[in-house]
């Protein structure tokens, strides 16, 4: 692991055609890393995420994705993701293949990947029209259970509050599936708010040791408009504004040009 500039980390870790998970469950969403991937015009990605929200809406609208593996694709508390809808309903700017799960299935698939297992087992997907992943019979009780193929992304990307100079990462608050994403992925990138001398303990914090991470990049404010617990709040107004920005193709493209593509990395 090395502390690497974001531009360099994204350039070396993400290749066109990769399966990439930018995770974050409402909290600590890696916006800065996703913006850098869009500036570098990464293409043909399979994007994995439980709750694709604004960043995947942006990446889909910018034509970075060929496939989406997900369980809930909305703008939390606001409504639809218009770029995702346009891709699915009208194949704009290109067709988007969907692989759809439930949250329980996605979470279990990440945990199985982290555990180096080929699949996850859960009591789920019953009575739904979601494509049934597969089923297994419990060897002890005979119960039929759902089996979901493990997530093993090529690259897992998360945002965290901070790292020390050795690249050990600490995150706290709502921790989502971030730990599982890093451990399930072949390569990983963590963006952080800051580098500190020492990671003093925080209640409920997770520490990911540097040796399970390929690159740590400093990106202050790198989760905005999502939030970083203890650093800044969620910009709820932006999520509401995104509904208008993203509704129209031209407005969206112009906004992206101005705020993402034209911007430089931190």
């Amino acid at each position: 692991m090395a502390i690497t500039p974001l531009q360099e980390a994204v350039a070396s870790l993400i290749q066109d055609g990769d399966v990439v998970a930018f995770e974050g469950f409402t909290h600590l969403i890696p916006h800065a890393a996703a913006h850098e991937a869009m500036r570098q015009e990464k293409r043909d990605l399979t994007l994995v995420r439980m709750t694709p929200d604004v960043i995947y809406d942006q990446m889909i609208g910018m034509g970075c994705a060929r496939k989406l593996i997900f369980s809930w694709g909305g703008n939390p508390g606001v409504g639809s993701l218009h770029r995702l809808r346009d891709a699915v309903e009208n194949a704009w700017p290109r067709p988007l293949e969907l692989e759809e799960h439930s949250h329980a299935g996605m979470a279990a698939a990440y945990a199985a990947g982290a555990a180096n297992l080929p699949f996850a087992v859960l009591r789920g997907y019953r009575g739904t029209d979601l494509p049934p992943p597969a089923s297994v019979t419990c060897p002890f009780t005979g119960e039929e259970l759902a089996a979901v193929r493990a997530h093993r992304p090529d690259v897992g990307i998360i945002h965290a509050q901070r790292a020390d100079r050795g690249g050990n990462v600490q995150l706290w608050g709502i921790v989502g599936v971030q730990k599982e994403t890093v451990l399930a992925s072949a390569r990983s990138l963590v963006t952080v708010e800051e580098i500190v001398d020492e990671l003093d303990p925080r209640p409920g914090a997770i520490v990911l040791p540097s040796w399970v991470i390929d690159a740590v990049a400093v990106a202050p404010g790198g989760a905005r408009p999502s939030y970083a617990h203890g650093y800044y709040d969620r910009d709820n107004d932006f999520y509401v504004a995104w509904d208008t920005i993203s509704r129209d193709r031209d407005t969206f493209t112009e906004w992206m040009q101005q705020h993402v593509l034209g911007a430089t990395t931190a």
């Binding site: 809930w72 329980a104 739904t128 029209d129 989502g176």
Partner: protein, 230 residues
Amino acid sequence: MTYTSDEMMAVEASRRLTNGNICFVGIGLPSVAANLARRTHAPGCVLVYESGTIGAKPTRLPLSIGDGELAETADSVVSVPEMFAYWLQGGRIDVGFLGAAQIDRHGNLNSTVIGDYASPDVRLPGGGGAPEIASSAKNVFVMLRQTPRAFVERLDFTTSRGDRVRVVVTDLGILEPGDGELTLTRVHPDVRIDDVRAATGWELAVAADVGETSPPTDDELTALRSLEAA
């Protein structure tokens, strides 16, 4: 005090929660109802959000299920895999609160797609936690506004199954399972049974003695409005 039909729906749904209920809450109307219950008759109702916050006590309504305030006020914050595996699948949830775009007479819900899955008319956000909430929570409460487009003879897609649905609270009244299908058991004040029939896309079963819900009390409305204004 005068009130809207949405306020009536939120108040009536909140009344269904009791002190000590462990309640798995989605964002939107269910979150309003569950937080209102905590502010009024059921301060001991435990709110569990799928983001991993157990026992959240927000002072204002969260916009998303992962707002910072939920973590700050929670008794415990767990990872998302743990939430679904240990807490939901583990059988520790008394009430799962769901909304949807469509419901059928058996309480099956659609929050995935309108039209054909492969070439949809409207791509909705999708199931999220709903499939397993519907099959693992001991009781499922549904909240949705009653219209012929939402209450349909046949779902375009089944996101979650209805066999644990105990009540559907709408802006017009209350439906409960009876005789193999959802049955209108109560109407809200000033709503006629025929209004509810007209808002339902199938031939609605109606109980022999349809009751009337009580209008929101001043205390309920005050609590609801302060929650929404905060």
